[in-house]
């Protein structure tokens, strides 16, 4: 058994699990945070994307033990004080989802992408960056639109803050 301690969405949590327990299982089953989804279970679809130490990763391809000591953000940790995160709001406004299964991974990917590119995104970049996330409903069109809208809003907000 592994004892795993990490900071998840700002809260320190610990738990025991098998050494072979995947991080996504730990998040869903031990912590009860079921917003992070398991889609393909073969590291392709990106429904399980979370942030580990500030970077987007596929939590179905990492052991919980490997993540011991890390800082994790899941989809549940994005909205602050009941207000949707700008990326979540943009997905809603642009109808960037249909069934919603891939959405948590898409949103976590988008937040990471916008941070890395400091909000400077174009359509081709967004589409290339979505390489690791599969959506079977939308044809991606409104997802791309939502991410571009969020990037524009967030970089506008950053300029305003500066």
């Amino acid at each position: 058994m592994a004892k795993v301690t990490m900071t998840v969405n700002g809260r320190q949590v610990s738990g025991h699990c098998d050494d072979r327990t995947l991080l996504v299982q730990f998040i869903r089953e031990n912590l009860g945070l079921t917003g992070t989804h398991v889609g393909c279970d073969t590291s392709q679809c990106g429904a399980c994307v979370i942030h580990m130490d500030g970077k987007s990763v596929k939590s179905c391809s990492i052991l919980a033990a490997q993540a011991d000591g890390s800082t994790i953000t899941t989809i549940e940790g994005l909205a602050a004080d009941g207000e949707l995160h700008p990326v979540q709001a943009a997905f809603k406004a642009n109808h960037g989802l249909q069934c919603g299964f891939c959405t948590p991974g898409m949103v976590m990917t988008a937040v990471d992408m916008i941070r890395r590119h400091q909000g400077q995104l174009d359509e081709a970049t967004v589409r290339a960056e979505l390489e690791g996330n599969i959506c079977r409903c939308t044809g991606y069109h409104n997802i791309v639109k939502a991410i571009l809208a969020a990037a524009a809003e967030m970089s506008g907000a950053r300029v305003a803050a500066e």
């Binding site: 050494d19 072979r20 279970d41 987007s56 990763v57 391809s61 052991l63 011991d68 690791g132």
Partner: protein
């Protein structure tokens, strides 16, 4: 996944000690190949020794044209290194096209070359750059390191700790990615030195894994241009043939990718 025991190594020495104490141990760095393989029960190591937190295996140092990349450096960090981009942008571009952003945040250069997947990108770069693979025991020329499909010169508990090379005058990598898996169906790295020496390495296509192509190298030494490759023949009998591409198609892809790489260098 079968049961396994996880250990986190604090240093290279500690990792070797833990590996030697293990039954059927495996080193894991990013785990982007190993963990999915274990999930499919195609690998079942009794012990996993995690190298990801070993400080001495991290980071990129560039001094003049000489480059050292710690083996636990992620693809993302290679792709976004300004110091490396200044002397060898081809390697940054290669790293930036491995897998997807999430895989690049975890996967490492050392893991990729130690695994020596026949469709991995880094082995082609190591061969074409004439890189040296540094382990905890010795230095191995890339030419002697990649010995076959998923086979390397590494012994038992040996760990790749870094790779080093001198940046070439010109280099580029071009791959034709499988539309579904995005692995290279043919990938060609070309590198040209100031003294005119040229190396051409091919990944994704060889039946025995990554290889150098002597005829393409000779043609490019004589004339560094894409057209110089037009009359070089690529022997399909040594290439992979599978549902994605037969050997003849791969032979054509190798030449097209090589031409594109020379044009891009």
């Amino acid at each position: 996944m079968y049961e396994t025991q996880y250990h986190r190594a604090s240093s290279v020495q500690d990792a070797v000690k833990q590996m030697e104490a293990a039954g059927e141990g495996k080193y894991v760095a990013g785990g982007m190949t190993l963990i999915p393989t274990m999930k499919q029960r195609l690998a079942a190591p009794s012990d996993l020794i995690d190298l990801r937190h070993i400080g001495e295996m991290q980071g990129i140092t560039v001094s003049g044209r000489s480059v050292r990349i710690g083996a636990a450096t992620t693809h993302h960090d290679v792709a976004s290194s300004a110091a490396l981009k200044a002397v060898c942008p081809a390697l940054c571009s290669l790293a930036g096209h491995i897998g997807d952003p999430h895989v690049r945040h975890m996967g490492t250069i050392g893991g990729s070359i130690a695994n020596n997947d026949p469709a991995a990108d880094y082995p082609a770069a190591m061969l074409a750059l004439g890189a040296t693979i540094v382990t905890n025991r010795r230095e191995i020329a890339a030419d002697d390191f990649f010995t076959g499909l998923f086979e390397t010169a590494l012994e038992g508990s040996e760990i790749v700790t870094a790779i080093t090379f001198d940046a070439p005058a010109q280099a580029a990598y071009q791959k034709f990615a499988n539309p579904a898996s995005r692995y290279a169906m043919a990938g060609v790295f070309v590198a040209r030195r100031d003294d005119g020496d040229v190396r051409v390495a091919v990944t994704g296509a060889g039946a025995n894994g990554v290889f150098r192509h002597g005829d393409m190298e000779a043609a490019l030494v004589a004339n560094w241009s894409p057209d110089a490759l037009s009359n070089v023949s690529i022997d399909a009998s040594e290439l992979l043939s599978d549902i994605h591409a037969d050997a003849a198609y791969r032979a054509n892809l190798v030449k097209v990718m090589a031409k594109r790489a020379v044009a891009a260098a």
